[in-house]
Homo-oligomer: 167 residues x 2
């Protein structure tokens, strides 16, 4: 789901594949939009996220996976409300990243370049409709991390990339 | 805040006075709308409420009191989304009540007749701008319970009226 989905929507199956990137070959392919996001709730089975994407606020509720789909609801909200909630109601720290949407063939890649406590981490995501769908991987795509929970945005808030080396 | 406030809004000072009712004299004065509401989060300092008022869904975020005001944000959402969230994501039980808006003079009274596990409880609320504002109390108004936390809707979910006698 991108920040262009401005209408309230509940989503059926959402399969996202996530990769690290090997080099900066993607940088010339898209323009970035700054994102700030935090969580009012961030627990197993339920997340309520507040996001600012560019100049638009969003509130998103994500539920547990039920069958093959995850309940997800996203609503546009006023920028000023989103700012107030991020500053006053969300658990710190606030996740900051620049998102670069890049269309290659029929696929929309979203490159997230993280800032703040997650600086140094760059992740590429693509949404597919079928887990076994073949994907043409651009040459800047590296290791797949789809199933590594450390890379979930909700977890990058709790345990940011800069602290991974401390284990 | 009533279900007629359909625009996203953050509120400044909200002072609500709450009373029990002595008799049914209010019943002929207004028509009721069924409400169902539940909480995605319901903790000290933060509540995220999902409400259906008549045929309209709402999502409301309420923060802690900061100074004299409480951060509050309410957004209309599709009825089907609200139903799904109440059925799948909110902590049971779901609070059910019939709300009767009644205008007397310049004041809007809201009578909440609770159902389900809170059946038997009827509460009248009025919003004022100043704690010391004089109010003409209708003759069906009984004991004031503004400062009794048992009557907070958020608490009526956790500890419903029907169980109060068990203490």
């Amino acid at each position: 789901m991108t920040h262009n989905d401005i209408y309230p929507t509940s989503m059926a199956t959402e399969i996202e594949r996530k990769f690290l990137v090997k080099h900066d070959g993607w940088r010339s392919l898209g323009r970035g939009t700054p994102y700030r996001q935090g969580y009012l709730v961030n627990q197993k089975g339920l997340a309520v996220r507040v996001r600012i994407a560019g100049e638009q606020g969003y509130m998103t509720v994500k539920g547990a996976t039920v069958g093959v789909s995850r309940l997800e609801y996203e609503y546009p909200i006023p920028l000023s409300d989103a700012r107030e909630m991020l500053d006053n109601l969300c658990e710190p720290p606030i996740l900051e990243k620049i998102r670069y949407p890049i269309v290659i063939g029929s696929l929309l890649w979203e490159i997230d370049e993280f800032l703040g406590e997650n600086q140094g981490l760059i992740v590429a995501e693509v949404e597919v409709t079928d887990e076994n769908q073949a994907i043409d991987l651009p040459d800047w795509i590296g290791e797949e991390v789809s199933y590594d929970p450390r890379y979930y945005n909700a977890n990058l808030v709790k345990f940011p990339y800069s602290k991974w080396s401390e284990i």
